[in-house]
């Protein structure tokens, strides 16, 4: 099965060099992996030439197409207005390729806000969804993984949006991971119903009343690595800080342990974002994978593997089908 991925070659701290190199590495995985590298043609051509010169071009030239886009949306720009102003931006053109059916997924290491705005305005939202969240999978005890939603797409959230995140997380766990009745927890600073700030308390009430989900109550930060919940819901501001704190903790542990032993325990590798690569935006009509802004080639290649998996699993159709059964 051919997978065509539109890659925003210009987005990210190490773009275009690392993005192009990572994308070519993914294409070399399998002859069915086709790339649409979106960005300034001459810049991408120069990167490919340099990779060829270094002997790193391992895929067939037929697997790689460059799609020209002359603009880039920076992380310092207002996403929605920049999207309107820069119609020839790489994330806009790459998302449009998915919308037009020319690509099966879009992936970017650039502005998350711009990618979310492109997903909303170009790919379109599923019925009943205001804002698409990003879902991330955390390692845990005995191989259990906890899905955390939202890890950064929406810094300011309304209670109803967190309810939608819970529904989307539940739909994703049911349809993609095969968990029959995913347990949903609300990230809070205590397990009692009355705990938390005003947002958490309002969300608690909404989740408690929602019949389509298996809400188990509040969960605390320390519960994230135990098999208590399958999905933990939080606003994107909290989720992003939490995710990056975990990355930092993993790096700190790894460097500290390396002073005492030769090789760190493999569990620490699961805190390395580059091993995961990227995470999908949920609730939109297309596969859109958000990657870390600091991604190097390994993370980009792994992000594309996530995109491929999402496309092959039909996560968009499955989400839409399950969401239609929910009362929003």
């Amino acid at each position: 099965m051919i997978t065509k991925a539109a890659v925003d070659a210009m987005g990210g701290d190490h773009a275009p060099a690392e993005v192009v190199a990572g994308a070519l590495a993914w294409a070399a995985d399998n002859a069915d992996n086709h790339l649409l590298l979106v960005g300034k043609q001459e810049v991408i051509e120069a990167e490919i030439a340099s990779i060829k010169e270094a002997g790193g071009f391992a895929c067939s030239p037929e697997q790689v197409v460059i799609v020209n886009a002359n603009e880039v949306i920076g992380c310092d720009e207002s996403p929605a207005t920049a999207l309107r102003r820069k119609k020839d931006a790489s994330i806009v053109v790459a998302s449009a390729l998915v919308k037009e059916g020319k690509a099966d997924a879009v992936i970017s290491c650039g502005s998350t806000g711009a990618q979310m705005a492109a997903a909303i305005f170009i790919l379109g939202r599923m019925e009943g969804i205001d804002r698409p969240p990003i879902i991330a999978s955390l390692p845990g005890e005995g191989g259990h993984r906890t899905l955390l939603v939202d890890v950064g797409a929406n810094v300011d959230c309304k209670p109803a949006q967190l309810l939608q995140f819970a529904l989307l997380g539940s739909v994703y766990a049911r349809s993609v991971l095969g968990i029959a009745s995913p347990r949903i927890g609300l990230l809070n600073n205590g397990s009692e119903e009355t705990k938390g700030n005003a947002l958490a308390q309002q969300v608690y009430s909404l989740l408690k009343e929602q019949e389509d989900i298996n809400f188990i109550g509040n969960v605390e930060g320390r519960d994230l690595f135990s098999p208590i919940a399958d999905i933990v819901v939080c606003d994107g501001f909290t989720g992003n800080i939490l995710l990056k704190a975990l990355e930092g903790l993993g790096l700190f542990f790894a460097s500290s342990i390396m002073k005492e032993i030769d090789k760190p325990p493999s569990i620490l590798e699961s805190f390395d974002y580059s091993r995961v690569g990227g995470a999908p935006l949920l609730g939109v009509n297309g596969v859109s994978i958000v990657c870390h802004g600091s991604s190097h080639r390994e993370a980009v290649a792994n992000g594309l593997r996530i995109a491929e998996e999402c496309f092959r699993n039909g996560i968009v159709a499955r989400q839409a089908e399950e969401l239609a059964k929910c009362e929003l």
Binding site: S78, P79, A80, T81, L83, R84, R85, M116, A117, I120, F121, R131, D156, K158, A160
Partner: protein, 81 residues
């Protein structure tokens, strides 16, 4: 202008799930907890209705619903819609 404002606030009220009467000319987007995506969505909704493409404005320059609607309405007048 009144008709245009009514249409715009109807779109905004539906998007934000708020009472239409809570949106007045002097109401700020901040008070409505409307972010740039909400505002752009409203603008795009109006573009669909009027078959026009509004110029890309700096949304920060329009803190109130009235200030933005007035600017959009003036543009409609200019292009004869």
């Amino acid at each position: 202008m009144q008709e245009f404002f009514e249409l715009a606030r109807k779109l905004l009220a539906e998007q934000l799930d708020v009472e239409i009467d809570s949106i007045l000319m002097e109401t700020t987007f901040e008070a409505l907890e409307a972010d740039s995506i909400d505002i752009v969505e409203m603008i795009m909704g109006l573009e669909d209705i009027y078959h026009v493409e509004f110029p890309e404005e700096e949304l920060e320059d329009f803190p109130t619903v009235g200030s933005l609607i007035t600017a959009l309405y003036q543009y409609l007048q200019e292009v004869g819609k």
